[in-house]
């Protein structure tokens, strides 16, 4: 590949940031440029490392993260440097960098805060924070001249149990990345003012490892998983009971027994058990996990991959965070079991960029497991070689779509692929791949240890086992709750302390932005995939956002419409333009300035919704109208 790369020098800091990441991974190969030997006599140039560098395209996104973390933006000189190192065209690097909201292709101050303005945070005063920050710093993303602090609006940060939340990103060495909450505008400004103090304070508060059982940590845990420590839990059994950084603690609490069982029984047995347990994928699509595994095992191409989808970006959803932060070894073990079952050699954990604590905990867990031979070659002295790499997302909801996630790992723009072919045949790097949600994987050890029939005894015939729900909004004790499938929606809300005294449920969002709204008449509904389907709603990944009668539901719907427009990848017409037209139409309804009558507008919205559902490439466009349409219907919001 012959590339033309602009002759713009990267700064020392930029070069160091990129090289520190790439050198250990690409080795001496420095691309077709720096690596070429020049032979003046023959006017030839022997390029070494070109092919090898090109084969590392998948290091592009991590290299961009390294730049963003160190210098706070991706400059033309830095792009030229990466282009030379990885032999990737500069235009394509720009195409990738400009896709992600957490990467900036224009110069911005190194200290930035990303303020969540989605459902739970809106109810907790996010707009007020935004107004104050705008008054102090200038418009979002466009700081006043001379201002050294930037603020941005962010989609759901997955911290809904402690709304309003914010993500700090302070570039430097080392960089600060902390998601925290609840927080107000004065505290945000104070922390941005003093990056170093903020770094020390926030890291003491949130990690990166922070395992000491300080009152702050226990308070955090009680907020995240209010059931922590109770008996009878499966998925949350260890949360709050073990030190999430200690492999010894994990082993002392039942860790790696399931992998031992799996290795003793053989891969066919594991897959048979997963099929018999009838476990359905917990990421929202509810696809039978066993069928996925069996198909991947049957696929002939090598090498196969296990990908854990930890890009938990559905607004109102933070249940995977509880496992990632508080029981990270369970995920390492579960991915290893999956690898053993389907014959995979490589593992990738794709983790959303807004979860820095989860990233630190997972990195630690993978390193500790590798130290003890639980990752690598001959795991448990079996014919099992497997390792896991973490890939950090860059602020793109669509990257949670499984094929977009593959594109993201491969170093391309995270645009969903057309299916078929399905990932079990043509997945990551074009090879057979099993991609499972965090919670789905967390079920595996229980299936293997208790047996499929004991596992399936919990729940209902159509929805086996238990489910994690993320409760937020107008409930007394928001947090992650584990309940058996079949629990009624009203009982789940009661478990979270119910709505505030003297208030009533107005609407409930099930499944987040891609989900739908139900009214208080559905509180009796058992939470199962089959009941949801019969009611024409979805439980998705288990977001439950409760709104009481004080809520301006139209404002919530407008924000959801805005969210889909922001997060559409832009590839296909129905979604790229349809989400814009939907937001405009909703704005007209809210301003009470319909084109024609309100009925005309609702009919047009329905037509739009049908085309987006029928003709969009992926689930984002196909569901972009569901919450808005159901919210308008259920809320009885229009004259």
């Amino acid at each position: 590949m012959d590339l033309r790369i602009a002759d713009i020098a990267a700064s020392t800091a930029e070069r160091e940031a990129v090289d520190a990441y790439l050198d250990p991974r690409v080795g001496a190969a420095r691309g077709g440029w720096d690596g070429g030997e020049r032979n003046i006599e023959t006017d030839g140039r022997v390029a070494r490392g070109g092919h090898e560098a090109r084969s590392h395209r998948d290091l592009l996104l991590p290299a961009l993260h390294a730049l963003q973390d160190r210098v706070g933006w991706i400059s033309p000189g830095a792009v030229a440097h990466i282009a030379r190192r990885l032999t990737v065209p500069p235009a394509e690097i720009f195409g990738v960098a400009s896709f992600y909201a957490l990467l900036s292709t224009t110069e911005r101050p190194p200290a930035a805060v990303h303020v969540c303005d989605d459902m739970a945070c809106r109810l907790a005063g996010a707009e007020d924070i935004c107004r104050r920050l705008e008054a102090a710093l200038g418009p979002a993303g466009h700081p006043n001249p001379g201002e050294e602090r930037a603020w941005h609006r962010s989609p759901c940060l997955g911290q809904c149990e402690r709304a309003p939340a914010a993500l700090f990103t302070i570039a430097g060495t080392p960089p600060v990345r902390v998601s925290t909450g609840p927080i107000d505008a004065p505290e945000i400004l104070a922390r941005l003012d003093d990056g170093l103090r903020t770094r020390a304070d926030l890291e003491a508060l949130e990690g990166p490892i922070g395992t000491a059982a300080t009152p702050e940590r226990l308070e955090r845990l009680r907020r995240l998983a209010p059931q922590a420590g109770q008996s009878g839990l499966r998925l949350l059994a260890r949360v709050g009971r073990v030190d999430p950084t200690s492999l010894a603690d994990y082993l002392a609490n039942g860790g790696y027994r399931a992998l031992g069982e799996a290795v003793a029984a053989g891969p066919e047995h594991v897959i048979a058990e997963v099929i018999a347990a009838e476990v359905l994928g917990r990421g929202g699509a509810a696809f039978p996990t066993g069928r996925k595994w069996a198909a991947a095992r049957a696929a002939e191409a090598r090498p196969k991959s296990i990908v854990c989808n930890a890009d938990e970006a559905e607004p109102g959803t933070f249940k995977d965070r509880a496992i990632l932060e508080e029981d990270p070894f369970a995920l390492v073990e579960a991915m290893t079991i999956a690898a053993f079952a389907v014959g995979a050699e490589r593992g990738f954990l794709y983790l959303r960029g807004e979860y820095p604590l989860a990233e630190a905990r997972m990195l630690n867990a993978i390193d500790r497991a590798r130290e003890k031979g639980l990752l690598g070659r001959n795991i448990l002295n079996a014919d099992l070689a497997f390792d896991i790499e973490i890939r950090r997302g860059g602020g793109a909801y669509i990257a949670g779509e499984e094929t977009a996630l593959f594109e993201s790992i491969e170093g391309d723009r995270p645009e969903p692929r057309s299916k078929p072919p399905f990932p079990v045949e043509v997945g990551l790097f074009g090879k057979p791949t099993v991609i499972n949600n965090v919670e789905t994987l967390a079920n595996l050890p229980h299936i293997l240890l208790d047996g499929a029939s004991a596992y399936a005894a919990l729940g209902t015939p159509g929805s086996r086992g238990s489910k994690l729900f993320s409760l937020s909004g107008h409930v007394a004790r928001p947090g992650v709750y584990e309940v058996p499938f079949g629990t009624r929606l009203g009982d789940l809300i009661e478990l979270a302390g119910g709505v505030r005294r003297g208030h009533q449920v107005k609407v409930v969002n099930l499944g987040g932005a891609a989900g739908s709204f139900v009214g208080p008449d559905r509180l009796h509904m058992p939470l199962t995939y089959e009941h949801a389907k019969a009611e024409g709603v979805t439980i998705g990944a288990g977001a439950v956002v409760v709104f009481d009668e004080t809520t301006d539901v139209l404002d919530i719907l407008r924000r959801i419409a805005e969210f889909f427009r922001d997060e559409s990848c832009g590839q296909c017409v129905p979604c790229r333009v349809g989400t814009v037209r939907q937001e405009e139409l909703l704005a007209r309804l809210i301003a009470n300035r319909p084109r024609g009558t309100v009925a005309d507008e609702l009919a047009l919205l329905d037509e739009l919704g049908r085309a987006m559902r029928d003709a969009s490439i992926c689930g984002l466009g196909q569901t972009a109208n569901a919450a808005v349409a159901s919210g308008l219907r259920v809320g009885g919001l229009l004259p």
Partner: protein, 356 residues
């Protein structure tokens, strides 16, 4: 693309050069530019399927689109092209195969026992909305299914598309505004106008212009510039959502980019967003007249590869050069010389009525 060649080539009406047989510029009917090829190997035999209720047998590696077109079923397309990898992004070609969502016929393969409906209410509805969404956001005046020929207007009429349903058009964005858009939150609209991609034309070189107000983001230019043809990679899709756009790195001008000015992107652009500067300037002056143009097929005079050129001539001047996609040698691709190096043809001797 015009398959009908004019019977006569360019007429040289200068008295100076009467000694040259003008037929030198015409395509000899006796010798096709096509080199015969072996029939395409068909793996997997044939499959039986039903298209609009009619049972048919088609080769097993056909796309649904190929199968339908082989039966004479018209399916509108915008982003697919015979020489490029199907992207399946415009969603005009969707058909109903009974699955939860509609299927893009350009990229989906046929299957044994498949039932395809190409024109039912569900399909027509989605196509109509796709046309309305495109036409309400993009200038599609010149757009056709393949090269710009305005035939999207025919589909608009056929499907009853009314883009005005979404409101009056927004004002054009200032130059550079769309290129500066960052991913994430945008400023909330009030709904009084339908936002468009309208923006000033990018005129940054003497050879061709980029009018992204006409861009439907079909990805064809990116594919032609990249691994489907030229392997130059000067452009990529940047940004996301409605702010997604075709761009060089950091929107640098084409001369500073990796662009080699082969113009193969112009050759595949279905909407006229990429246009010869000569055509653009004639259109700006109101002097572009399709009906007065002849198209002459000839062979590029520069090197020995022998690329087929299609000279578009108006008023005895070459106004643009395309290359037929079915040309065997380079499948419609040219280099900068064949595409743009035609000025010498138009140098007239002193005293002729059209001096250079």
């Amino acid at each position: 693309m015009s398959e009908q060649l004019p019977p006569q080539g360019v007429r040289l009406d200068s008295g100076e050069f009467t000694g040259i047989d003008p037929r030198i510029f015409t395509t000899s009917p006796a010798r096709s530019p096509q080199i015969p090829t072996a029939p395409r190997a068909r793996a997997g035999g044939t499959v039986e399927m039903t298209i609009d209720g009619t049972p048919v047998t088609v080769p097993g590696d056909f796309t649904i689109l190929e199968a339908c077109r082989a039966q004479g079923v018209d399916i509108p397309t915008l982003c697919t092209l015979s020489t490029l990898t199907p992207e399946g992004v415009c969603r005009m070609c969707v058909v109903d195969t009974g699955s939860r969502a509609l299927t893009p016929s350009c990229s989906a393969r046929v299957g044994q026992g498949m039932t395809v409906w190409t024109d039912n209410e569900r399909v027509r509805h989605s196509r109509k909305l796709v046309l309305e969404l495109l036409a309400s956001s993009v200038d599609v005046d010149l757009a056709g299914p393949e090269l710009p020929d305005g035939s999207i207007a025919r589909y608009m009429a056929e499907y009853g598309a009314d883009p005005a349903r979404f409101g009056p058009p927004s004002a054009p964005a200032p130059a550079g505004a769309r290129d500066a858009a960052e991913a994430g939150h945008h400023s909330a609209p009030d709904g009084s106008v339908a936002e468009r991609v309208a923006q000033p034309v990018k005129v940054d070189n003497p050879l061709f212009v980029r009018d992204y107000a006409k861009c439907i983001l079909c990805y064809k230019c990116v594919e032609a510039c990249g691994s489907d043809a030229q392997n130059t990679f000067a452009i990529s899709v940047a940004g996301r959502g409605f702010a997604a756009r075709v761009s060089t790195e950091f929107d640098v001008g084409l001369a500073e980019s990796a662009c080699v000015f082969c113009g193969n992107c112009i050759n595949v652009c279905p909407t006229g967003a990429l246009m010869f500067r000569s055509e653009y300037e004639l259109r700006q002056a109101g002097e572009w007249r399709d009906e007065d143009q002849s198209v002459t097929r000839t062979i590029c005079p520069y090197c020995g590869v022998g690329c087929t050129l299609e000279l578009h001539v108006q008023d005895n001047r070459i106004v643009k050069v395309l290359s037929p996609l079915d040309a065997q040698v380079t499948s419609g691709n040219l280099c900068v010389k064949g595409r743009f190096g035609f000025d010498f043809v138009q140098v007239r001797a002193k005293g002729s009525d059209r001096e250079a």
